[in-house]
Symmetry: C2
């Protein structure tokens, strides 16, 4: 019963598909958060579900931890081998298995990335809408319940994963859900695995909802004197039923970053960036109605465009937010965190974050998927400066506590990983024990991504 | 450890809130399906969560079954006391606890009915969209993962329940989810309890998403020479992104029933009944686009109207489908069943149901939430005629098996109850054991609605 024995057994069975190459181990222990590199003892590259099942059985026999690995773009250290063991790299399981265009669904292996899927779908008139920014794997996006800029219209992975194939902790292979759009047949196991961050089983196949490509798309930007007027605009827009495809908030510091990074001259005040999907008349009407609300709420600089070029430039800018934030202080590290609150509390939460950043003398840009009440703080810091490091920790702690006080959650879309485990009891209270009980039932040996999400001792 | 001892203890603690009145017991053992009356040993009427917790603790002490009871309108015998025990009637827990209009959510007790909630919301400009036809309790709708005519646009209870308070099988009270629109903080316990049919815990509070009342609403009807052309119309409509609020199919037999029941003269061929929500221009454009698709697909008799009176008459007719079907054979009983398949297989599934009804000489009307691939069969039969009773059973069995062969589910919205337990293994395979393991973890004494959903032995 040891990790070494498991790896030996895996090498015997799988040969070259198992590696202990130092550079590959190091790469699988990297993260985009602020954690030290924590490599696994080996990386295994399965090619199909049967192999995943065999690997899991061997690991179970030896009580060896197994960490599913997609593209490594998660933000809370989900992929770190904090208890050692193997990283199960799903990149070779990257086939789009089926596209059912009449049913508007697709069946993919977990290593398929969202850009790869959308490339494959181009000729069908369909697309997969969930867009977290990074070109993440769909397995990883499922495991972290990812979302992003379009969730306000099309939902998160929670709403867009219809069915799964999962290898359980003892190697059994199950299927959850079906291609039917809805079902009342028993417990919703699909939703239990979506967001379970590899702690309950290995996702080996995913059935996803697709959307029809909109006939027309237009985008708009506008600016506001303060966060309140921007948030009031969003609330009025959603209450009126304008079906926003994206509605993104950026604060004055973030705009400053954009200006610096790309040499633009936007007024350095809070902005909304929005997108409309629909018929040509529909998007025109949506944009006009939105523009009226902006004016009512004291916004200005309202510009809309149906040019694809201008729109692409806008979303490219938004997607480069991390780099734009880094431009504000190029020599520092930058981390990204997220919380989510009811939209009526959003202005309060953002103002609190701004005040805390000033109190702690931290450089923080704020941006968010404001239609969902979800926002990000990009925080610059010097990891070698213990005082600043402590300030960052205090900032993050207070941000999370504030989100809970406002009836929200400590993460809208990044997940728990190792970074936010300490808030699970505060957020869930007695319900946390139910999660622990389910984990113990499905993974009694605690070999599936141990040390993530749940405090198990 | 007996039911009698539990009831004695409950009477001591709760006095008049516990009844063994024969008429009330009988009423709580009734069902709208085809099962014999199966009353509980007592009915208890809790008034708050603390009382529910106390009741559950007393029942746990005595291993006494507990069956949550809403309005008794479920269709697969969910509320039957097949192992005896107490019926927990939630009708006194019927307060709307909060309406957060800025956040577009409401917090309700489980005994609130959907019509009561919508009545309460009238002045806010908001409404709760899920509409299964019956004026069911929101607790029951949550427990059975209900949906109905508007699910194609607004989703089912799965998408519309944001958070829950639940009393577990040992009396502990937990909260799942929050009022944040999305979260990646741990396992999705909310979705685990939605659709669990009272087998994992008692739902005592529900936070629901609301929608803005559409500025304009219009409705349309059209007819088709066959089911294929009706289904092709639906597929094209959804692929084009026309945001249908309702899109309902009725077959020729159902139309015959409507004509008989209400003295109308609709052509006795397949029909679609649809509704559009949006801005005044938006619904006009949607209706025109839809009309073009209908014409392309060989449909006719396309009529649309923005008159509220005509629209209400249309949906009243649709909601009276059960009585209209009964009018076809007034002396017989009628049951309603449902299955759900990928929409590309819908025509095949409906044609199969029609052919089976003819082969078995049964009177069957078919109608459905065709945008979701979900359809109902209303079946007339004489319960005292053993040959006809056997034919009904054969029809239902073949209908369910066919749904599974077509990659669908044995129930899109009615639930499993006792009626469809026999198909759970066929639908879920190895995953059924995972459901059983979760049930055993959360309800080790098997006192929460025992004998429903899962075969536990």
């Amino acid at each position: 019963m040891s990790i070494a024995a498991a790896i030996k057994s895996l090498q015997t069975r799988f040969g070259d598909k198992v590696t202990q190459n130092a550079a590959i181990l190091e790469q699988h222990g990297q993260n985009e958060a602020y954690f030290p590199v924590t490599p696994p003892d080996a990386v295994v590259f399965p090619e199909n579900t049967a192999e995943v099942s065999e690997i899991v059985k061997i690991c179970a026999e030896h009580h060896c931890p197994i960490i599913a690995y997609g593209t490594g773009t998660s933000l809370e250290g989900h992929q770190l081998a904090i208890k050692g063991g193997i990283s199960l790299d799903m990149s070779k399981m990257n086939a789009v298995l089926a596209v059912h265009d009449e049913d508007m669904d697709a069946v993919v292996q977990p290593g398929v990335t969202r850009e790869q899927l959308n490339e494959d779908l181009r000729a069908t008139g369909l697309f997969f809408p969930v867009d977290p920014g990074a070109n993440a794997s769909l397995g990883g996006m499922t495991a972290t319940r990812a979302s992003g800029t379009t969730a306000v219209r099309y939902g998160t992975m929670r709403e867009n994963v219809m069915a799964l194939e999962v290898v359980l902790a003892d190697g059994r292979i199950i299927r959850t859900g079906s291609r039917a759009r809805k079902s009342s047949a028993g417990y919703d196991l699909t939703k239990l695995f979506v967001g379970s961050e590899g702690t309950l089983g290995i996702i080996t196949e995913i059935t996803l909802r697709l959307q029809g490509q909109p006939e027309a798309v237009s985008a708009a930007t506008c600016s506001f004197p303060d966060i309140e007027s921007a948030v009031n605009t969003v609330m009025a827009t959603i209450q009126m039923g304008i079906p926003m495809a994206r509605i993104e908030f950026v604060d004055e510091m973030m705009v400053k970053g954009f200006n610096l990074y790309q040499g633009s001259e936007m007024p350095e005040v809070p902005h909304l960036f929005v997108e409309f999907h629909g018929s040509p008349n529909g998007v025109k009407e949506q944009a006009e109605s939105f523009g009226e609300i902006v004016a009512d709420m004291g916004g200005s600089d309202f510009k809309w465009s149906d040019s694809a070029e201008e729109r692409n430039a806008l979303w490219k800018m938004r997607h480069n937010a991390y780099y734009a934030h880094k431009a504000l202080r190029p020599d520092a590290h930058a981390l990204s965190t997220d919380v989510c609150v009811p939209i009526s509390r959003l202005a309060e939460a953002v103002n609190f974050a701004r005040a805390e950043s000033e109190r702690l003398d931290l450089m923080v840009s704020i941006l968010g998927h404001v239609g969902d009440g979800n926002f990000h703080c990009a925080v610059s810091f010097d990891p070698d400066d213990p005082v600043e490091h402590a300030s960052v920790k205090e900032f993050l702690h207070n941000l999370n506590q504030q989100a809970l006080e406002l009836d929200g959650t400590v993460t809208g879309e990044h997940g728990i990983g190792v970074g936010k485990m300490k808030y699970m009891a505060d957020e869930h209270g007695e319900a946390l024990q139910v999660m622990v009980d389910i984990k113990k039932t499905l993974d009694p040996l605690n070999i599936m991504n141990p040390g993530k999400i749940l405090p198990m001792n």
